[in-house]
Symmetry: C3
Subunit: 261 residues, 3 copies
């Protein structure tokens, strides 16, 4: 289902502008390169509007947020909306601290993303304006937040991706489930952020945000399975995952993708 989009990414090499966190910058830049996109990281107020103006998608990730970075995210977000490119928002740790929840809610309101991608705890916290996710963990089951995802999708007019053992992709009443993936993916830092970045690459080439979000998660899960078959543990997983992303062929996908809905 994602093959055409991946082909377009590989052929067009869309520029994806990331304002993301320190932990995952290297991994997500490499993941974007591996799928064929062209990543750029830029966060200075002096240039984020110009950079967003060059890009085909803007990925905002609040994983290690601070005042100046949040300001730049809003500047870039407004530039992205003026230009009409999709914003993909990753509300890392929403619910853990008021600062994260409030910042993410403010972004949903003021620079509404095309796609919001989080884990179950983050989506639940944003839908209910509540705390308690205990850091960046996904303490809640994906299915238990389906109604929260629907609420957020309707309220903000965006696609909501809830990632977990099964990924939910929700747009109003449209629901899709991706059953691909590997338990190893939860044992490596930044795999959620990587899903968000790759969602940015898909949204850069596919104007249908629902299909872009679903395709990105199906590719993540498929490459994750391929990598898990080769990795000796969470340490060797990221390299195997990037190799899989870069090398995946149409025949690797056939019969492997398990999407429902």
């Amino acid at each position: 289902m994602f093959w055409n989009d991946l082909k377009h990414i590989r052929e067009g090499s869309p520029l994806v502008h990331n304002i993301t966190n320190f932990v995952v910058m290297n991994l997500t830049a490499n993941a974007l390169l591996a799928v064929g996109a062209s990543p750029v990281m830029a966060h200075a107020a002096e240039e984020v509007e110009e950079m967003a103006g060059l890009a085909s998608a803007l990925v905002i990730n609040i994983g290690t947020l601070s005042g100046p970075w949040v300001d730049a995210m809003f500047l870039a977000g407004r530039a992205a909306r003026r230009k009409g490119i999709p914003i993909i928002l990753d509300p890392v740790g929403a619910g853990a601290t008021a600062y994260r929840t409030d910042t993410a809610l403010r972004m949903l309101a003021e620079i509404p993303p095309a796609i919001l991608r989080g884990n179950a705890s983050e989506i639940r916290a944003l839908a209910r304006h509540e705390g308690g996710t205990r850091g960046v963990d996904a303490a809640h089951a994906v299915e238990s937040v389906l109604d929260d995802a629907k609420d957020l999708s309707r309220r903000h007019g965006c696609v909501v991706t809830v990632s977990g053992p099964t990924d939910l992709i929700v747009h109003g009443d449209r629901i899709l489930r991706v059953h691909n993936g590997s338990p190893l993916m939860a044992r490596v830092t930044g795999m959620g952020c990587t899903a968000t970045a790759i969602t940015g690459a898909f949204a850069a080439v596919n104007p249908d945000a629902f299909r872009a979000a679903a395709g990105a998660m199906a590719l993540m899960g498929t490459a994750g399975e391929m990598a898990a078959a080769r990795a000796g543990g969470p340490g060797s997983f990221p390299a195997a995952f990037l190799d899989a992303l870069a090398g995946i062929r149409e025949e690797d996908v056939l019969g492997r993708v398990r999407v429902e809905g």
Copy 2:
């Protein structure tokens, strides 16, 4: 000796709040995940007190310090002390510049850590308030700073870990030596910082800071030996090390840990 603590980390998945440096964030987050802990990186003044309030240990690492980060470290440190969770301090580069030495000394005085972990040059610089460690290298032999470590331990009431080919763990007159490890560990950036982060995970589950510090270094050294047997060089070492941390079983440890004292 560290098996029970590791089991408790794997079962309880304690949240470890890190305010650390840009170079090692990804590696230390993955190392904490690999031992079973739950890492979070957060450094904004707006949220560090709240985040420290959710955590079971606070790791402070001054490897790429700057004004706003140091301010946040103090805020988080005071919150950690109010809550009664252990602080683990890594004074990266103390002795190289006055800014690093002064900042680390101020932390020892104002937000005294349960455990201070550094290399011989850093420990010596802090004990003698002197410079000359030439960056983040360990130019001095571990045993030559035993008295410095004792001084610091007594002065600040903390456990002092001096890492090197043999690690020293010192609490007043109690001394323990860990002889495990591999020379490859000194050829990879961030292995010291990783030791500090893992010390945080051990301190989160073991109120005896001396045993926590020793257990963390014994696990580091044991996993380091297992990884060195599989790695083709310093480049492939980190992945092998994380795989070893994640996969280590009780039988891997038996007869392998060489602790003295």
Copy 3:
């Protein structure tokens, strides 16, 4: 050709002070360790002059620049010039935004580097004061910017390295081409920044900046070929590359280096 310099780096372990970007800090620190140098990352105004004063070379990389970092780069740059150690400048993304082009041009004028290393698009943008490189990609062919490189070299009295499938090293009318390398190197983030960092290590031991720049690129390309022969894709490439850098022997180099000019 680079063997003697590499031997001197391995024996002397020169301290290389890096003020670089968040994406590549870990990789470039590990690359410097792998060649035998001693990396330090420090960017606070409070310490960069003191740190540069301890170092044998200063590497400035504007990949994720912002106001306070740029200020620190100038402070460190002036300290490096006072001390007489070489500055190596990587103008990441020059041409993509005015902020990057202007900052790099200001650095060329006020803290002239011994060596400027960029891709073709960056070198072209700096020579012509123009935009349009579309992020950090190298959209232009290396040979097409030979005159731009000569112009920049004459104007600023520095060596200019243009990296690409073939690397150009230019100093006024002296030109050297390095034909080593692997296409995989363009599919991994930070290989250009790594070339810059390693150029810093070579410049730290070789006062002839032209030969230092050429040796660094020849080592990069040679290690890149060795790594490509072992890597399963861009994901497993960085570890293989660092292993190659660390393990390379004189016999690996003989008959392999393809330098022309």
